[in-house]
Amino acid sequence: MARFAVSVNRKELSTESPPDRPLLDVLREDFGLTGTKYGCGEGQCRACTVLIDDQPRASCLTPVSSVDGRSVTTVEGLASGDELTGVQQAFIDVDAAQCGYCTAGMIIEATALLKRNPTPSGSEILDAMNPHLCRCCGYRNILASVELAARTSEASDA
C-alpha cells in the first residue's frame, strides 16, 4: 500500500492503494467517479478511456502508481458547469448514445483527437475511434457526432 496523489478533473485527490491497482477502480471506487466504465479489462473495448496528461489511455490497464502526480480527466470533468463541450453536445444532437455505456470512452477519445487535430479527415477520425467498441453498433452515429463536433468548433473558431 502507498499513497498516490492525482489531479482528477482539476481537483487534487489522493488515495491509499496497492500500486498495481487499475486507475479505473480508483476512479470508480475511491473517487466516486463512475462515469468511466469497465468493459473488458484488457484494453480491447476502450470504454474506460480517460485523459492522462491530455493523452487518451485505457484506465483498466493503467496502474494507479503510474499516474502519481499527474493529471487525469474523466467524462465528468469535460463540461464547465452546465456548459457542455462541443463533443458532448454533438453526441446529444446526433442521438449517438443507444445504451450509452461506451459513450464516455468515445467522447474522451474524440475530445483528445480534436485537441491534437481540430480538422481531422474521415479516415483520421476512423483511425482514432476504431479501438472503441459499441455493441449496440451505433458506429455511424458516433462518427457523425465527431464530424459534427469538428465542424462546429471550426465554425466557431472562424
Binding site: P22, K37, E42, Q88, D95, C99, A104, R135, C136
Partner: protein
C-alpha cells in the same frame, strides 16, 4: 382503423431461457421510498383512484399513470431501457395522448415495488403491447380532464379540447394538476368501470411519429447516469465470485482461510464461493487465493468441433409442451415432393455470445428481511421471483430496480448476478456491488443456440410446391416460411445442448432464416431465375414483396449483374415479430474471408413511431448481424471456453461498417410492431448469397468462410 398487430403470428420462442434460480442456499429461514406526491392514479384499464399521499408499496399494481397535485405527471411501466429506446417511445406515447409536452412528463421504468409487471423486455413487445396500454390509460386521463372541466364550468364536454396539458376556455384553464386537486370524479365516473377512450388518430399525431431525442442523453454524455454497475450505497462493499475451472465441474472442497487472512468477507454456501471487500481489487485477489485451495470434480464435456453431429445425435424427438419438439404440416408434402423437381441442403450455425458492453451487475442491500437489488436485467419481475425462491422471501419483501442498463440483446433475462450479490450482502451485513468480469460474461452468461437445419423443397417451374424444413435446436422463432407454398412441413427438435442457451436478438429466427434464405437462393438458381424475381414469384404477402422490391430498387439490383473480381451481390428477406426486412449486399471474397462492400436494408414495421430511433435500431441490428455472419463463433473444448475475450472473439468495429443505406417504409395503415430484432435475420443469408455470386461456392455454415473445396 389501422390493421391490428397480429398476435396470432407471435409465438414465444421455445429457446427463451426458463431456469430455476442459479443457486439454492442453505439459509435460515421499513419503510419504502415514497416516490410520488399526492394525486390521481390511472390504471391500465382506465380506472381512476384518488390517492392522498403515497408510499410506493401502496400503488395499485396496474397503475399506469400518476397525476400529481403538484403538476407532476409520471408514466409507469415495467419495461426496461437497454439502449433500444423504450423510455423515449413510452414518453412519446404518453405525451401524445395526454396532449402535454414530452418535457413535462417523467417515465418510471422497471421497479417491482412501483411499476406494473409488463413481463420481459423481449420479443420486440414494448411497441405492440406496452405502447397501446400506456396510450389507453393516458387517453382515459385526458377524457376525464375534459369531462371534469366541463362539469366545473357547466359546459358541454364536446366544446372543450386539451392543449398543452390543459383545457382552455374563455380565458380559464383547467390542467392535470387541477384535476388531481379537484378531489371529485364526475357523476359518470365509476371506479369499477373501465374506460374505453379512442386513441389519437395517426393523422393527428404531433409527438408520435417524430424524431424525439433521448431524454437521458445529457446524463449519459456527462457521465451522470448511473448504470447498474455504477450504483453506490452507503458502506457498500465490492465483490467477486469463484467460478468453476470448466463447464460441469462441481466443487468438492475449498478452504476460505487464504481469503479471510486478507481481511475480506469470504463465504461458501453449497457450490457458491464469493468474497466481498472494500475494493473489487481485494475481492478478486481473495477469490484467486481461495481458488487455489479448491478441489473440483470435473465432468466430460464435448468440444465445438463436430458440434452439428453432436446436436443431431441428441435431438429430443419425444415430449410435449413448450420445451418439446414441434411439428406442423399442411397439404401433402411427400406426394408433392415426389411429383416435383427437388433440391435439398443442410446448414449449420455456431454458438454466439451477446457480449453486452456492460457485463452483468447488481447491487444488493438488505434491511432486515427486506431485499432491494439494483440490477441490469430484461426481466425485472422474473428476477424478483428468482430472488424470492433463492432467499425464501415474499414479493413484498423483494424489490428489483432496473436502472437504464448497458445493453442486453436478449442476453440479460436471468438473475444470477442479483442472487450472488444478495447472498454476499447477506453474509457481509452491508450492501454489496458485484459486476461480472468480461471473461465471466463470456463463459457463464448464456448463448444464442447452435443449430443444424435440413431443408428440402420441390419446384414446379418458378413456384415452390413443397417445403420440408427441419431445425435442430435453434428455437422456433421464424421457423415458418413467409412464402406462399401449398405443401409445408416444419419440424423443430430441441437438443441436449452442451452449453447454456437462451434468448438473443431474433433468437431462433437468426438461424431459421439463414437456412431458409440461402436455400431460397439455391432454389432460384435451380429454377434458373434471378433471386429477387424468384422470391417475388413465390410471395403473396404484399408487405414481404414491398421490402424486397424497395431494397432491390435502392440497391440498383440488376438480374444480369456481375461485378467480377471475386465480387458478388446477394439478397435475403424475412418476416418476424410483425415486421419485414430485406437486405441487398455486395461482397468481395478475399482468401477465405467475406468482406462487405455495400448494404441496402429495407424495413417495415407498420406505422413509424420515431423515425430516428427506428433508423438507429435497424442500422445497429444489421451491423451487429455482421459479427454473427462473418466472425463470431464460440469455441470450446474440455469444458473450457477457448475464445472468451474481445481479443479472441471479434465483434464488429468501426472499420467493419460498410457503405450502407436504410430504407424505412412507413405504413400508417398498420399498427406498429417492434424493430430491434427482425433486421438481424436477413444479414447472414444476404452475405452468403452474395458470396455465392462472387465465387460459385455455397457457404452453408456460419461464420461465412470460403472453405477449401
Amino acid at each position: 382503423m389501422p390493421e391490428r398487430f397480429r398476435e396470432d403470428l407471435f409465438e414465444p420462442d421455445r429457446k427463451e431461457l426458463a431456469e430455476s434460480p442459479a443457486y439454492c442456499f442453505d439459509l435460515d429461514r421499513r419503510e419504502w421510498i415514497a416516490v410520488v406526491s399526492a394525486g390521481l392514479l390511472v390504471t391500465a384499464a382506465g380506472k381512476v383512484v384518488f390517492s392522498p399521499g403515497i408510499a410506493a408499496a401502496e400503488i395499485p399494481p396496474s397503475t399506469r399513470l400518476h397525476l400529481g397535485e403538484d403538476g407532476s405527471i409520471i408514466v409507469l411501466t415495467g419495461k426496461v431501457e437497454v439502449g433500444q429506446g423504450s423510455r423515449t417511445e413510452i414518453l412519446q406515447a404518453a405525451a401524445e395522448e395526454l396532449r402535454v409536452a414530452p418535457g413535462a412528463l417523467r417515465v418510471m421504468l422497471a421497479d417491482t415495488a412501483v411499476t406494473p409487471d409488463d413481463g420481459s423486455t423481449a420479443g420486440s413487445r414494448t411497441t405492440p403491447s406496452t405502447v397501446p396500454v400506456v396510450r389507453r390509460a393516458c387517453a382515459a386521463a385526458r377524457e376525464m380532464l375534459v369531462r371534469t372541466a366541463a362539469e366545473a364550468w357547466n359546459l358541454d364536454a364536446s366544446q372543450l379540447r386539451v392543449e398543452s396539458g390543459g383545457v382552455v376556455h374563455a380565458g380559464k384553464r383547467f390542467a392535470y394538476a387541477d384535476l388531481a386537486r379537484s378531489k371529485r370524479l364526475t357523476s359518470t365516473d365509476d371506479e369499477s368501470t373501465p374506460r374505453v377512450v379512442p386513441l389519437t388518430e395517426i393523422d393527428d399525431w404531433t409527438v408520435l411519429g417524430r424524431a424525439l431525442l433521448k431524454t437521458k442523453a445529457r446524463a449519459i454524455v456527462t457521465g451522470a447516469h448511473r448504470y447498474p454497475s455504477d450504483i453506490v450505497r452507503p458502506d457498500m462493499l465490492y465483490a467477486a465470485v469463484l467460478r468453476p475451472p470448466s463447464y460441469g465441474a462441481q466443487l468438492e472442497s475449498v478452504d476460505l482461510t487464504p481469503g479471510k487472512e486478507l481481511g475480506v468477507v469470504a463465504i461458501r454456501d453449497g457450490g457458491f464461493v464469493g468474497c466481498a471487500a472494500k475494493t473489487s481489487y481485494e475481492a478478486h485477489n481473495a477469490v484467486e487465493a481461495i481458488g487455489k485451495t479448491a478441489k473440483w470434480r470435473t465432468a466430460p464435456h464435448p468440444s465445438s468441433g463436430g458440434l452439428g453431429a453432436y446436436l443431431k445425435g441428441r435431438a429430443q424427438t419425444s415430449g410435449t409442451g413448450r420445451r418439446g419438439p414441434r411439428r406442423r404440416e399442411r397439404g401433402g408434402v411427400d406426394s408433392a415432393l415426389a411429383a416435383a423437381k427437388t433440391l435439398k441442403a443442410s446448414y449449420e450455425i455456431p454458438y454466439v455470445q451477446h457480449a453486452p458492453m456492460e457485463p452483468r451487475a447488481a447491487v444488493a442491500e438488505w434491511d432486515e428481511a427486506r431485499l432491494t437489488v439494483w440490477t441490469g436485467t430484461q426481466r425485472p419481475f422474473g428476477v424478483r421471483q428468482q430472488l424470492m425462491e433463492a432467499f425464501r422471501l415474499t414479493a413484498e419483501q423483494t424489490r428489483v430496480i432496473v436502472p437504464d442498463t448497458g445493453s442486453g440483446f436478449g442476453g440479460k433475462h436471468t438473475g444470477e448476478v442479483a442472487i450472488e450479490a444478495a447472498r454476499l450482502a447477506k453474509a457481509a451485513g452491508k450492501p454489496v456491488s458485484l459486476r461480472w468480469t468480461r471473461a465471466e460474461e463470456f463463459a457463464w452468461a448464456y448463448f444464442r443456440p447452435a443449430a443444424v437445419f435440413e431443408a428440402r423443397a420441390g419446384l414446379s417451374g418458378e413456384k415452390i410446391v413443397a417445403w420440408d424444413f427441419t431445425a435442430y435446436n435453434p428455437g422456433t422463432a421464424g421457423i415458418e416460411t413467409p412464402y406462399a407454398v401449398p405443401n409445408v412441413r416444419t419440424q423443430y427438435f430441441p437438443c441436449d445442448a452442451p452449453l447454456r442457451e437462451g434468448s438473443y436478438r431474433g433468437i431462433g429466427a437468426t438461424g431459421n432464416n439463414f437456412a431458409r434464405e440461402v436455400f431460397m437462393d439455391e432454389l432460384a438458381d435451380a429454377a434458373g431465375l434471378d433471386p429477387v424475381e424468384f422470391r417475388l414469384a413465390n410471395s403473396n404477402d404484399e408487405r414481404l414483396s414491398k421490402v424486397l422490391q424497395a431494397a432491390a430498387d435502392r440497391f440498383g439490383w440488376s438480374p444480369a449483374q456481375s461485378p467480377g473480381q471475386n465480387r458478388g451481390t446477394g439478397i435475403a428477406a424475412g418476416f418476424e415479430k410483425g415486421s419485414y426486412i430485406a437486405i441487398c449486399a455486395q461482397v468481395r471474397v478475399v482468401g477465405e474471408s467475406v468482406e462487405v462492400e455495400r448494404l441496402v436494408s429495407a424495413f417495415e414495421c407498420g406505422a413509424i413511431l420515431n423515425p430516428r430511433n427506428l433508423q438507429t435500431q435497424v442500422e445497429g441490428c444489421v451491423i451487429q448481424g455482421l459479427g454473427a455472419a462473418l466472425s463470431e463463433e464460440i469455441r470450446f473444448a474440455g469444458g473450457k471456453l477457448l475464445n472468451g475475450s474481445f481479443s479472441q472473439y471479434p465483434v464488429p468495429r468501426f472499420r467493419g461498417v460498410p457503405s450502407m443505406e436504410t430504407v424505412l417504409l412507413d405504413r400508417p395503415d398498420i399498427e406498429s410492431a417492434g424493430a430491434g430484432e427482425t433486421p438481424i435475420i436477413a444479414v447472414a443469408p444476404a452475405l452468403a448469397n452474395a458470396a455465392f455470386a462472387a465465387t460459385g461456392h455455397r457457404m452453408r455454415s456460419l461464420p461465412l468462410r470460403l472453405r477449401a473445396v
